[in-house]
């Protein structure tokens, strides 16, 4: 990667301070983020491929990937549905306590994950406020996959709402009105006219919520039960377990897979955002 002037060799930078800010930014970024992350990579090279695959293919690790990715996917999808409904309601309707509702969306950002975790776990336990009535109809949430999904929905909802909301509020109602005038029903005009416009934002929100779900630790571990037998161990828990048993090789190998997954998602959301910026820039 080279940081050089975009236009020609001698483009003057009118605003002073380029070198200083570039240097400082790169120094902070490298020292605090990139070098530590690279250390994980470097350490994982000390493993032979056989050792590496042995760790990854052990039963508990494979199941943790299945559980983590599966639950995160389901949670992200649920969040896309409810996130769109919430964003739509907040943008298009006026009703009492709207600003309160709007403010509360951010709660999962502000609430410490551990607090969220113990609270959800308690609420959905068999004696809990939600758990008790659910248990009566035979649904168990705490210490099952359902619990993991619930925690991931909780933690992921703001990502979808906050990416969809600004796009929706900028969307000209004339689009819908045009569709409406042409005789489309409100539902039809939503799915045919509004949804395609929201797709990049929804995909970004989906990507962010998914990434957050895959990496989530604090809010998940209490409600998950972390049982190897019932496959309710998430990958973050496995990494932490291996760290606690000083199994650094194991922790690194699992972390590397999750890291690659995260970078893939980061790349995905960035490409969407860049493409979106270009598209709206054209208009």
């Amino acid at each position: 990667m080279k940081f050089t002037a975009a236009k020609g060799k001698s483009n003057p930078r009118v605003i002073p301070g380029f070198g200083l800010t570039l240097g400082t930014t790169l120094a902070f970024l490298s020292l605090l983020i990139l070098i530590p992350l690279a250390s994980v990579l470097v350490y994982s090279f000390s493993l032979t491929p056989t050792e590496f695959w042995e760790i990854l293919l052990s039963e508990s690790v494979v199941w943790s990937f299945v559980t983590t990715i599966g639950c995160a996917l389901i949670a992200a999808l649920i969040n896309c549905v409810f996130g769109t409904i919430l964003a739509w309601t907040l943008v298009r309707y006026d009703f009492p306590f709207k600003r309160l509702l709007d403010g509360l969306i951010e709660l999962p950002f502000a609430l410490p994950t551990a607090v969220a975790g113990i609270t959800l776990s308690k609420l959905f336990s068999d004696q809990g406020f939600f758990g008790a009535p659910l248990a009566r109809i035979g649904i168990r949430v705490s210490y099952t996959h359902l619990g993991i999904i619930t925690a991931m929905v909780f933690i992921g909802i703001p990502f979808v709402v906050r990416t969809v909301q600004p796009v929706l509020s900028k969307l000209d109602p004339q689009f819908e009105e045009a569709a409406y005038c042409l005789g489309a029903s409100p539902a039809r005009s939503f799915f045919r006219v509004v949804l395609p416009e929201l797709r990049p934002a929804l995909l970004t929100g989906f990507g962010l919520a998914l990434a957050r779900g895959i990496g989530e630790y604090g809010s998940v571990i209490y409600i998950a039960g972390n049982s190897a037998k019932e496959h309710t161990q998430v990958s973050s828990y496995i990494i932490m377990q291996k760290l606690n048993y000083l199994d650094y090789e194991g922790a690194t190998a699992v972390a590397l897979v999750i890291l690659i997954l995260s970078f893939g998602l980061l790349l995905f959301t960035n490409i969407i955002q860049i493409r979106q910026a270009r598209r709206t820039g054209m208009r």
């Binding site: 020609g8 003057p12 009118v14």
Partner: protein, 369 residues
């Protein structure tokens, strides 16, 4: 020459923004860079300002090459298209900013700010913030702020683009007077030929990164040197073929450019034109556009659609009405060359153009009833 631009070249990727651009401007003159969007006029302005650097060529201000100087060392004032007023500073603070960064003494700053506020007619607005001003007032603040450090050269990027049409006309006059009063050499960029013709002492017409023609507004208008200039100024009609037009030999020329004022349309019973009826052609009015002070007629002459203006004081005409049409002259185009051709038939009876002038300015001619 106070400002000299020599052989400037600049490319952005594959796009040639400046192609051997050269011109000079005398001290105290107000020059316009005129061209359509994408013609490279703003690039040249930014290169003179030092906001962009040329791939090759020189910029000289007051005899000194400034290529290597930063924008702030060039002694220029720059008025941005958006004005770029500092939104969190008052009018007075905006104007004082350039003096403050030059560490001028406080009393001197105060004096200069007061002087500029008076000059630009902003008295009473000193404590206002930019968002509390009208478009015209903002332009005057931007102007005063650029002038405050007493630059040798003032550069204005589309100075009227952000102002609505009605105020724009007043501001053109105001800016022209103000710049001449201050006596500062100035260059402004515009895509609007009326603006350039009305405000500037000198016009550089640009297209595709090249200077097409440099001259005073009258020259640009009356003697366009290239096909582009002939087609760009004066709201002309461009004809791919002009074989059917009476009084003109097509010869080697490929196209013709005809301005509305080159075309006369009259009715057969108009006594003023009876001498030249034999030289006229029949045309049919296809459309009439009301242009406020006059009408614009679209007349079909043998399959060619011409445009002419008609005074509101003359007899009313209707769409579909037959008219006699005479073309006094046209610009014949070959490649990028342009040549003014006079109507040969009229020339025979009036070699010195005297009679034609009488048609134009006499009773019933173009400029009267």
């Amino acid at each position: 020459m106070y400002v000299e631009v020599r052989e400037i070249n600049k490319t952005f990727g594959d796009f040639k923004a400046s192609d051997h651009v050269s011109f000079g401007i005398e001290k105290g003159k107000l020059a316009a860079l005129l061209g359509p969007s994408g013609s490279g006029k703003t690039t040249i302005l930014r290169i003179i300002a030092g906001l962009e650097s040329a791939d090759s060529g020189d910029v000289l201000i007051n005899g000194k090459t400034v290529n290597r100087l930063s924008p702030s060392e060039r002694g220029i004032g720059f008025v941005f298209q958006s004005y770029a007023l500092f939104r969190y500073m008052t009018v007075a603070e905006n104007i004082a900013f350039g003096l403050k960064v030059k560490k001028q003494p406080a009393d001197k700053i105060k004096e200069r700010v007061a002087e500029l506020i008076g000059l630009t007619d902003l008295t009473g607005l000193e404590k206002r913030y930019p968002n509390e001003l009208s478009g015209g007032q903002r332009q005057r603040v931007a102007f005063a702020r650029a002038l405050a450090p007493e630059p040798g050269l003032l550069l204005l990027d589309e100075p009227f683009a952000a102002i609505d049409a009605k105020v724009r006309k007043e501001l053109r006059q105001w800016l022209r007077e103000m710049i001449h009063k201050v006596g500062i050499t100035s260059i402004f960029v515009t895509h609007d030929q009326d603006e350039a013709v009305e405000v500037a002492d000198q016009i550089m017409v640009m297209d595709k990164g090249r200077i097409e023609q440099t001259g005073v507004p009258y020259e640009i208008y009356k003697e366009p040197k290239t096909a582009f200039v002939a087609g760009f100024v004066g709201n002309p009609v461009i004809l791919e073929s002009f074989e059917g037009l009476k009084g003109f030999e097509k010869g080697e020329f490929t196209r013709a450019i005809i301005r509305p004022e080159f075309v006369e349309a009259f009715k057969s019973d108009n006594p003023h034109f009876k001498d030249i009826i034999p030289f006229a052609q029949e045309g049919v009015i296809r459309d009439i556009l009301f242009r406020g002070s006059s009408l614009e007629l679209k007349i079909d002459v043998g399959g060619v659609l011409l445009t002419t203006h008609r005074s509101l004081e003359r007899r009313p005409v209707e769409v579909g009405e037959k008219m006699n049409v005479i073309i006094y002259r046209l610009y014949a185009i070959q490649g990028n060359e342009t040549k003014l051709l006079e109507n040969q038939d009229l020339k025979k009876i009036d070699p010195d153009n005297k009679r034609m002038e009488s048609y134009l300015y006499g009773d019933g001619g173009y400029f009267t009833t």
